[in-house]
Structures are given as structure tokens and as C-alpha cells.
Symmetry: C2
Subunit: 541 residues, 2 copies
């Protein structure tokens, strides 16, 4: 009879990789997983955000032999990948996210998407079924390569155990170019004996500074047309913004930041730089006032969604546009542009924001009061993760008066990034206060991050904007022309019934709810004075 059923052949020997792991270790022979972890440690990986499973177990065990890498557990993969994103943005080097098979990668994919849009350096390691097991399509089998492919970054499935050193070295070199690098490692290759030799350092990729684009940009800015430089990526570092301010001083152009920067230094003493507005008609009006546009580390601005009356591109065919690169060389390119323009070496003081008083709000909490209070109270050197969505709009106005700090934003629009990203930022910067300015609906996507903050005693204050609603959807519905919300829209945007104090305490984070500006001021003051995670539910009216 026909027999389409896969069965084992009794005579085929199992592979050498099935040799007892303890025996291999007793012989002090290195196995593939150890080569991978030792190479990663040698290449500077210091943290592994992990939610591993059986197919990653040899790599987990190998972490015992790589004590330079700190393993940190996340109770959901989106926490691990978001934390690796936050870490990468702040440390400016890759963390490892260690994930279990296709499902683990799928659960972590949204925050990898955000990291991809942020050009965050990150190494993702995914265990795959053993090469001799995968063809049997076991229950957890999934197309891992296809999932990794959606990230448009470096990816490879290891084909030989001995390659694991080179593979992880190549992955880290690719990650350092500002991308998510995904290395897929079959289980049996992790356990195979290998020769413990160091991988050759992956060659540093050549700089991609585009001299022609820089010359074009310099010519454009010198021509005296009304011009704006849209800054993004590494151009929004302190150094980048100072260089941009020097260019402004020399050419009289305006400066503006991309709408959702991965990382932007802000506060008193920094150049005054607004962001491209989120609301498309407002953004288009603003940008249409320029005859010339230079993109410095930012993509060409487009609307977030497709709206009637506003075309997707916020730049028009009538404008002259020069695009410098978006990658990790954006800062170098901005520097070359400043040189080409012969700008001063430091910006004039009048281009930098000066200290000013933020009025102290009182009474029932509104969005604007929260924004003002936070900007007024946040300490120097704070890292503020903004996933406040509809609530945090005016924060960016007040934040110019805040003490110098670092702003992180939601780069890829996939909500649920704030708490994980704040978690990773706190791991990268243990001496800085991290504040997660956090919309409630978004926070619920990856609420498990609070547990990691508690477990690792991370210095994160989470400010929950508790409006119990997907307000952004109501806003978007109005943008789309809906004048009155129907019952289904109301029903599907109603998040009422969440008690954030209980929820966060259930995950180990001390919490409190506040309803007035006075209460928020008192509780935030206390949370900022102490070390360790805290959550404040801000009941907005």
C-alpha cells in the first residue's frame, strides 16, 4: 500500500550531537552554544533579554560560562525585544534577545518592527528545532525565516556548529550598522562539539558618507531659499543638534525633528527643535512653507495613515529636496555638511533654549497638566520614554523648559513599546532615572514588563495616562471624516474596568492612583526621590 507517512528508519544512527551533554562537558570540549555565547561576550554583548524554551536550552546553559552577559527574563517575548530596543538606543550597542522558535519570534516581532524603524542595533538569537527533527513538522514548527524576513535586516540560519562564532560575529557587525540582526540556530548545532577558536573580527563596513549629497545640500542651503533641515536618527544626538544649530546660524535655515525620533536629547541648553507635527494637515501646512528641504538622518516625511485631503508625502514636487543617509553615519554626514558650509564650531547662545518657569498646575488632572508637571519635575539626566499617545501631545512643548534629558519615542507605531523600552533603558543606564510616560491602552499590550522592572529592581517610574479609552482611534475616526461615533466604535475603544494599582502590584511594582495635580506632584516627587520601580495611575478627566 502507498505509505506517505514519515517514519524513522531503525537502522539510521542518531547523530553525534545526541551524545550526552554532560559527557561532552566533562571532556571540556566546547559545544556550539558555548562558542556562540563566548564570542558574543568577546564582541561586547553585556545583556541577554530572554524568554527561552527547550530549543534554546544549550544556549541558556552556555550563559553560565559567559558571566559578562547578564541574563534578564521577560515574561513575554515582546518585553524582551522591546527591552533590547531600549537598551540599544541608550547603550548604542546591541543587546541579545534570546527567543524560542517561531512563536517566540512572532510574539517579539512588533517591538522588533519598532526597533527596525528606530535603526536600533540588536542581536536576536532564535533556537530552531534540530535539523533532523524539523522535517517532521512538530507542533511548534513555523517558518522562522519568513518571520525574520519581515524585519528587512540581516538574517542567517546557522548551517554548521563550527560557524557559530563567525555567525554571531557577523550578526553583531550587521547589528552595529543600525539594524535588527537575526541568527537562527538549530538545536543540534548548539550541542555539537566545536573547536574553541575565536572568530575573526567582522570587517568594519566602509563609511557610506555620500559626498555628492553633502555638496548638493550645502549648495541648496547657501542659495538663500527658505529652507528646513529635517533631523532624524543619530542627527538628534546632542552633538548632531549642536552641529545643526551651527548650520542654522550660518545659513538661516530652520530645524525640525522627525515626528517619532528613536532618541533625542532635549531640554534647556539644547537648540529649540520642534517635531514634524503628527496631524497631517498641520504638518503639510508647515512643510509647504519651505522651498528647500534637507533630510539629515530622517526619512522623507509621510503621513502616518492615508487621509482624505492630505496626500501621503508631506513634501511636494515644487520643493527642492536633498536626502543624506538614514543609517548610523547620519551624524558624520551632518558634520561634513557643517564643514562644507564653514559654520562656527559652536552655536550662538540665542539658538539654545533657556531656563524658564513652567506654571504649576492644580486641580483635577488633564492632559496638559500632566505634561506640564512632568516637564517641571523630571530630574536632570532623566530618560523619558513617550508612549503617551494622545495624552503627551503638549509634553513636547513644555519639555523644552525641562532639565536636559533624553527622549525616546514609539518609532514604528506598534503599540506596547513603552514599558519594555523603558525597562531596557534602565538596564543600560542604571544611574539615570527612567520615566515611562505611558498610554493605558498601549501599556496593556506588554504589561508583563512591569514584572521585569520589579525583579531586576530597575529605576523606572511608570506614569499611566488612564483615560480608559483608545482615544487615538476616536481622534483618527474624526480625521477620516466620521462626525459622530457609532456604537461599535464606542464599544471597541472602551477600556474601562482596569485597576492599574492592583494590576501593577500584582506584577510586583508598588503603585498608587492620583486624580489631581497636587496628588501627582506629591507622588511623583516621592517616586523620583526613591530608587526602584514605581507606577502612578493618573486618572485623567
Amino acid at each position: 500500500m502507498a505509505d506517505p507517512v514519515a517514519r524513522r528508519n531503525e537502522t539510521a544512527p542518531l547523530e553525534a550531537s545526541n551524545k550526552d551533554l554532560q559527557t561532552i562537558k566533562a571532556e571540556r570540549t566546547m559545544i556550539g552554544a558555548e562558542l556562540l555565547m563566548e564570542t558574543a561576550a568577546e564582541r561586547g554583548v553585556e545583556v541577554c533579554f530572554a524568554n527561552p524554551g527547550t530549543t534554546e536550552m544549550p544556549m541558556v546553559e552556555a550563559l553560565d560560562g559567559a558571566p559578562k552577559i547578564r541574563p534578564i527574563l521577560g515574561l513575554f517575548e515582546g518585553v524582551c525585544t522591546g527591552a533590547a530596543d531600549g537598551y540599544g538606543r541608550m547603550a548604542e550597542k546591541p543587546a541579545m534577545a534570546l527567543l524560542h522558535l517561531g512563536p517566540g519570534l512572532a510574539n517579539g516581532l512588533c517591538n522588533l518592527h519598532n526597533a527596525r524603524r528606530a535603526h536600533t542595533p540588536m542581536l536576536v538569537v532564535v533556537g530552531e528545532h534540530a535539523t533532523w527533527h524539523r522535517p517532521y513538522d512538530p507542533p511548534l514548527a513555523m517558518d522562522i525565516e519568513a518571520l525574520a524576513g519581515t524585519l528587512n535586516g540581516w538574517r542567517r540560519t546557522t548551517s554548521r556548529a563550527q560557524n557559530l562564532g563567525v555567525d554571531v560575529s557577523d550578526a553583531l557587525a550587521a547589528a552595529r550598522r543600525g539594524q535588527v540582526a537575526t541568527l537562527i540556530v538549530p538545536f543540534d548545532l548548539q550541542t555539537k562539539p566545536v573547536v574553541a577558536k575565536p572568530a575573526p573580527e567582522a570587517p568594519s563596513p566602509s563609511k557610506t558618507v555620500d559626498e555628492q549629497a553633502i555638496a548638493n545640500a550645502a549648495r541648496l542651503l547657501k542659495r538663500g531659499k527658505k529652507a528646513v533641515i529635517i533631523l532624524g536618527g543619530r542627527s538628534l544626538s546632542r552633538e548632531g543638534q549642536m552641529k545643526a544649530a551651527c548650520i542654522k546660524a550660518a545659513c538661516g535655515c530652520d530645524l525640525i525633528a522627525e515626528t517619532f525620533p528613536a532618541r533625542m536629547e532635549r531640554g534647556v541648553g539644547m537648540p529649540h527643535i520642534d517635531r514634524v507635527p503628527y496631524v497631517p494637515a498641520v504638518a503639510q501646512n508647515l512643510l509647504d512653507s519651505y522651498e528647500a528641504v534637507v533630510l539629515a538622518g530622517a526619512p522623507a516625511p509621510v503621513t502616518f495613515f492615508g487621509y482624505k485631503d492630505t496626500p501621503p508625502s508631506l513634501l511636494s514636487a515644487a520643493q527642492e529636496v536633498v536626502a543624506l543617509g538614514e543609517g548610523p553615519d547620519a551624524l558624520a554626514e551632518l558634520g561634513r555638511l557643517a564643514e562644507a558650509l564653514g559654520t562656527p564650531s559652536a552655536p550662538p547662545k540665542e539658538l539654545l533654549t533657556r531656563a524658564g518657569e513652567i506654571p504649576t498646575p492644580t486641580g483635577a488632572l488633564t492632559r496638559d497638566k500632566v505634561c506640564a508637571l512632568l516637564a517641571a519635575m523630571q530630574p536632570e539626566g532623566a530618560v523619558v520614554m513617550d508612549e503617551g499617545n494622545t495624552t503627551s501631545q503638549s509634553y513636547h512643548y513644555f519639555a523644552t523648559l525641562a532639565k536636559p534629558f533624553t527622549l525616546l519615542t514609539l518609532t514604528g507605531g506598534a503599540i506596547g513599546q513603552g514599558a519594555p523600552c523603558a525597562t531596557g533603558a534602565a538596564v543600560a543606564c542604571p544611574s539615570r532615572k527612567v520615566i515611562d510616560f505611558q498610554a493605558d491602552g498601549s501599556a496593556l499590550y506588554t504589561v508583563q514588563a512591569l514584572w521585569t522592572q520589579a525583579k531586576e529592581k530597575l529605576d523606572v517610574v511608570t506614569l499611566i495616562c488612564s483615560n480608559q479609552s483608545y482615544d487615538i482611534l476616536k481622534f483618527e475616526a474624526s480625521q477620516l471624516g466620521t462626525r459622530q461615533l457609532g456604537p461599535t466604535v464606542k464599544r471597541l475603544t472602551d477600556l474601562s474596568g482596569v485597576d492599574w494599582v492592583k494590576l501593577a502590584e500584582g506584577l510586583g511594582v508598588p503603585s498608587v492612583a492620583v486624580a489631581t495635580a497636587e496628588e501627582l506632584s506629591s507622588e511623583l516627587s516621592q517616586a523620583l526621590a526613591e530608587k526602584g520601580p514605581r507606577l502612578i495611575e493618573m486618572e485623567l478627566c
Copy 2:
């Protein structure tokens, strides 16, 4: 200068689709989204588990005009897809899961993977950016087709608004064949005017009963060799198990169920059918005792992971194997096999399990005590979702003595299925008590499901197996040959610090913790007597 930057052409008119939605509706012209929802309602869709965003807003609004479809919000997409899976298993027809762009699909992918392995009928509708917006690569853009492709099911991106009726009709026909059907709908096609004509009913696919395989299986079973039928899918319905018991009566073969059935009727009065053991050596020993194997709706059994000493396939080349189909026709095929064997029309009573006493446990809670208590106390007609992992092992032994009930299990190994699946089962079966027997680590993946249970007042009792550990990983490490857990394994399997009572109450579900069998008995008794969601944290020693 060269200009690689995409910009709008001021002279190109915006599409007709940008006509004001209110105007279109005022004219009482139907739009694409309305055609989609009305067709779905006509074709029997009664529930939409949704976490939509801007690109799905016209479809959300169209639900107002399709009152037969009940919209239910999930606060994370994995809740929506898992709920649609639970609904599909119990209702035996597709629910709709409505998701936002690539990130929404990515977040829901793991429970779609589980649904795919369960052959659950399900319709997934994903909004995509407008066709004229997508080429600009806005922040949320992701390769949705690639994500859907990992599910190996029906998928289509709608190309014309007028096709939306036919597209959703085709998707539903495909879903009813036991798969996840994914329809991707660009935003602009949702808002375009269409003619409101009913889609032709998609032709019923022809039955795929394989008469040759049935004849082969009949011949094999009649030959008197030691034989087993491995039952899976629809063969584990009440009718399927009864037919299988008739075959057993006629041929003397044994019966066994696949390890992780999507849905299996169980309890007193059902044939006694064990499951293929999870532990590979035990499974192999058992299956090796048979000379002949018939697969009835089940895939050929393979080990869950690749282990030393146990090859992937649990069937050997020495065995004769006949595979009937795995799809929705499994029940029909089993019936044809019974006919071919001329079996009695009802199984003899001695093949059916009889009522018996389950000893009442006392004292500190252990795994086995929990399993015994649940089996003893669960009411007739209960739906029990088992994602108890290491805790629920012996439940399947005691469950043969339980009152007749329906068992659902984790089919694809992607944890975080229990609470969402129980949620969907409760929507499908409002008059039955749903019990989610739930490992704590797995529950944390999709804990947001509790909120939906509270919001929709669903009759679900969640029993949290609180061992504060990924015990399954410790077990798997031992299977892989690790004799002593290293510090990193210990650290990455330690979930301590979760207070389930606070966590669940934070999401609106009344909760209590118990530490002894007496307490569990008392609290479970009360939870079973009342309607509505409850959670009991079982502190295991």
C-alpha cells in the same frame, strides 16, 4: 540633482475613495466595508473578536449595520485570535478576528498558529494601508502577506472594492474546511462605493474521503495483527469516539488519541481513550508494541522536541501504517471505515467508562490533588481548557471519571492560549461552564484575556497553577541530559513575585488564592455555583 525622494505630484487628483464618508452614507450607497460585513453576516459569522486601528475603522463602522455580528474587544491581538480559536472549536464555525495592519497580525500570530494546528475554522480580516499610501512605507507598514503565509492557510489581498463580498465569501468557505483564512483589505477599498449585490455562495468543496485508504485500513485491521487507531481532529467528537469504539469491538484493536487534541469529548459514558504520552520514551514504548497503526484524523505522531535516544517519528519502519485524512472529513472517513468493517451500530457497554469515585484530597495542594479535585467537581457539560502543562498531567487520568465534558488543549505548543481560548469557548457556549486549567507562566502571555471575560461577563473559572516557575523547561532540561540546573536556567525559569489575585482583580475578575485542597474545594464550589468570571490562584507546594 538626483532626486530619489518620493514626493506627491500636486497635479494628480486624489482618488474618488477620498470622498467624504458621511456623504457616501447619506446617499445610502454601500461602501466596500459594508459589503464585507453584510456578506460575512449573511454567511453566518456571529462574532467579531477585534482590536482594530485606523486602517480598519470603516469595517468597525460597518459593524453598526451588521447587528447579527457581535463585536468583542480584546486588549491584545493574541486574545482576539485565541478567542476566535476557542469559539471556532466549540461553535464549529468561524468567528472573525479583526486586526490592525502587520503589527496586529504579528501580535495575534501565535494563537493563529495554535488554531492552524487545531484545524479551527477562522476568518482573519486585516486592514492594510490605502493602496496609494502603502508605497510610501509609512511607519506601521510591514509585510502582511509574509506573516499570513506562515499559517499555511487560505489568504488573499483584496484588489477591488467590489470583490469584497466574493472575497469574504471565499475566505469563509476556506475557513470552514478547517483552516485560518486571512483576508487583507486595503483601507481605500473599504471606503469605495460598491453595488450592494450578494456574493454567490462559494461552491462547497467536494468531500475528500479517500476510499482507497479506507479499504487499506479495513484490510489492515481485519488481519488480526496487534493494531491501534490514533484518533485526532473530528474523530474525537462524541460520534467519532463511538464509531471508533464500535470498530474496536469488531476488530479488537486499541484506541488512542493524539497528544494535544483540539477538542475531545470526555468523561463517564465515553469510550476509554488515553492520549499518546508526551514523554517521548514512554510514547515510543507504547506505540512500538503495535504492528499496525491507523491514523484517523491525526497526523503521524512525532516527538515534540528532538531528544537524544528518541528519534523524531514515534512510528517505526517495521509497522504497517494507513493514514486517513486530517481535515474536516475525518469523522466521515471513520464512519466509512466502520461501515467497511461491518461493525455494530453502538459500542458494547463494557467499552465505555463507568462512574466511579474520585478520592477527595485534603491538605496542602499538589498537582495530583488539583487534578483529582477538578475532575470530581466539574459539572456536567463543562468545557475544560487544559493549558496546565506540568500541573495537569494526571488530570487526564481522573477525567475519565468526570461527568461528560469537552476538553480543549494547546495544539500548537505556543503558550498563552488557555485564557483567550476559554474566552472564545464561553462566547460560543453561554450555557456551559468553562474552566481554564491554566499554568501561570503561560497565562502571563495573554493575561489581558481576563479583562474581556470581565467586560463580557463570561462564565469562565480560571484555575491558576501557581508554581511560580517555568517547570516545563526544567523537565525538558532533564530530558536533554542536564542533571543539575545551572544558575542561568534557574534564573530564567523563576517566575516568583506574581500576585494573581491582584493581577486578575486589576483586570476586573473577582479572585481568591487557595493553598489547601479544602480551600480549593470550597472556593471552586462557590465559583461553579455562580455565573460570571472568577479566578482561583492555586498555590502549589
